[in-house]
Symmetry: C2
Subunit: 437 residues, 2 copies
């Protein structure tokens, strides 16, 4: 075992896990390192935030995913840097040698220099983000139920989502359903259908990477769910009780207690550490520029894939930071590694774009499959199907299907637990009071 | 609405929720106050800790449980005391008037004066407790996988459970299965079947409230799962890396990284606040002594039910702190309140004991149904059935059934996420290092 070629993979997301699994059967030892013990199916994370699914439904233990693969092992550890000379990954509590390194540590939220917004307007990247956003959403309704001041009730029932990409659109749609369907009969003092949901997009239209007709359709679907879509609107300030929006020359301060950040992302900080040691070039978003075979210039033993890679050799522009790109890159890199051992060569990486989809509320979605663009009920069914089959564990496919089916017929979302946050003991006491301020 | 008799219920556990639901149709307004937004099915909490079920599977939103009951409302708030003169409940952020009060705030863990053990050896009462215990269990295996020192590996793979009641027995059984079945193929450096699980009971036998033959059967079943049962053993110290046990005259220090507390409980602190204002008598465990109709002496408008009540009028001893007692008391109190309004009288409360069951690993349980005592596979099926039908939401019945069925055939527990704790970012880095110390 010690003498086989050792591939170290940093990150168990879509790219890293695909690489590890594609190395099955290759004459190498693979070590997958992640600081979490699970792979997260991020495209469904907003459904955890909305109280529709439980965290475990969209997560698969990395050890289970690689259980039967004898040439792979998993280490729970945090990588802090690399040493290209020694061919070592530096961990927070040790180091590990590699022959080949695959860096796939993804991206994180970016607040464009306004880091104090981070605590007020959480983003949606991790399980903890999702349960925190869920907590804030449902606590806002609870605080409103107990509030007597009409203006404060209105502010508590105002939800702002910053960023009109797929995550922002999906979350806004989910909030629309929560307010108008799920909570309909739950409260005695407030009317949840009076909830205001504001989706704030800096550009000229939501879903900017989709064809314009689908942006328009998504906008229409969101309006039906009671969502106000504000385009060409920049967030100039976020505080605990308001969000300030700049549209053209006018500044508007909207009282609002719950803000979610779905705007900017930047590459994981490990990217800069890798650049420092390897001399790789970093773009403005912190991504590493890669060669046609996804290696770093001058370091054929280091691959960078997924959100962390800036790959421009196909279209002249970086490929989008989405799961299909990362997975295809993971599989490609595994092939290159196996080929090298056999002294074979492989053509440059080529991304096959199979389209994109976003869900806009119950029984409605938009899908862009190149020349085939569709929306509404069938796009929604296609969305459900694609996301269901892509969940890794069979058990989760069944559980998610049961919950989606249940929700479709009953309109009840069961996973509406308010947990964590200010601690179990005072979880509601402190926060409800906070909301009342 | 304002002029109807107002019943305030403190606590949405088995007692409080049963009382609220049983007041349906009564000419009263009911307000259920809880600091959490959900009712928790505590008997299955150990399965959340074991990574078998997700938190939402055993929780039901209180608002959903009372959605269709027009005379009931839910307030998310924390009660800190009462004022019997003003007939007011004092909340952490306000107060609320009552005509009749039902106090059902339950119990919490008790460390017999060793409160510093609380952080080292968490108990199993809340969702957060369960996910924290889950986190510690699976992190211990992860840390062991990375540890090179044999003695430390052994300490990391030693799990102690303090208290041989149903919770301790069920958790020990679950750990036995995790070590010998679930994790069998997951690790490369360690052999999880070498895990030591020690169940420490101060009395002469585990399951002390069950008939002796069932204690013996449970012991045998646990031994088959690799659990060491230590009876007549008192815990004299718990530290981060060891637990010290006193058996007779001998003191034994066992290196051990994961300790769970399933020993003592005491009444919720609200009990003493109620006693202070009402003059009610409090027993050593902090429970309030109640009259044959579950009211406090001299205060027919205040009922105390569930774990917080010390009811001795039936057997001379306090009734056990279990869900059936609390539920029957909740229903009884609702009847008394409805009867009083009609100027009727109701006989004293009488607990109907329908038996008790505890699960001891996969496909094995013990059941005590009075004269009918049984164990093994059929007791296990009975246990599954009783717990499944008692889950409140239909959706959860289906989800739990799918997961149990899945587990029965695949022996895989899917909900093994390590979340929270030291924060999402460093959840593993910091803790794995901590485990290595």
């Amino acid at each position: 075992m010690e003498h086989r070629h050792h591939v170290v993979i940093l990150g168990g997301g879509f790219g890293g896990l695909a690489a590890a699994q594609s190395l099955k059967g290759a004459p190498v030892e693979a070590t997958l390192i992640d600081r979490r013990n699970f792979h997260l199916f991020q495209p469904l994370l907003y459904q955890v935030a909305a109280g529709w699914l439980s965290p475990a439904n969209i997560a698969s233990t990395l050890r289970v995913a690689l259980k039967r693969q004898k040439n792979a092992r998993v280490l729970l550890a945090e990588a802090t840097g690399i040493d290209v000379e020694k061919r070592q990954v530096i961990l927070s509590d040790g180091q590990i040698d590699y022959n080949t390194l695959i860096v796939a540590t993804g991206s994180q939220h970016h607040y464009f220099g306004n880091d104090r917004w981070r605590a007020i307007a959480p983003g949606l990247k991790t399980i903890e983000d999702a349960t925190e956003i869920r907590r804030r959403i449902f606590l806002a309704f609870e605080a409103a139920e107990r509030e007597s001041d009409a203006a404060r009730v209105e502010a508590l029932l105002t939800f702002a989502i910053v960023g009109g990409g797929p995550t922002g659109v999906e979350l806004a749609g989910a909030l629309g359903e929560i307010a108008h369907d799920t909570l309909k009969h739950d409260f005695r003092a407030i009317d949840p259908s009076k909830t205001r949901i504001i989706l704030i997009e800096g550009g000229a239209r939501i879903l900017p990477t989709y064809p314009e007709e689908l942006s328009t359709k998504a906008s229409t679907a969101l309006k039906k769910l009671g969502v106000t879509v504000r385009v060409n609107a920049l967030v100039s300030d976020i505080s605990v009780d308001a969000v300030t929006v700049k549209q053209g020359e006018s500044l508007e301060r909207m009282p609002c207690h719950t803000v979610t950040w779905a705007a900017g992302v930047q590459a994981s900080p490990l990217g800069r550490a890798v650049a420092k040691s390897s001399g790789a070039k970093v773009d403005r978003a912190g991504r590493l520029e890669v060669e046609p075979d996804l290696t770093i210039a001058g370091h054929p033993e280091i691959f960078v894939i997924g959100d962390l890679a800036n790959y421009t050799h196909q279209t002249g522009k970086p490929l989008p930071g989405i799961a299909p790109v990362a997975m295809q890159q993971g599989r490609y890199v595994a092939k290159v590694i196996a080929a090298r051992i056999k002294k074979d060569r492989i053509a440059p990486f080529h991304y096959r774009d199979r389209g994109a989809m976003a869900i806009v509320g119950r029984a409605s979605a938009v899908a862009d499959m190149g020349r085939l663009r569709f929306s509404g009920y069938f796009a929604w069914l296609a969305w459900l199907f694609v996301h269901l089959v892509n969940l890794i564990e069979f058990q989760n496919k069944v559980l998610v299907l049961v919950q989606w089916g249940w929700y479709y017929f009953s309109r009840n979302r069961a996973a509406r637990l308010i947990v964590g946050g200010a601690g179990s003991k005072a979880a509601c006491g402190e926060d409800a009071a906070g909301g009342n301020r």
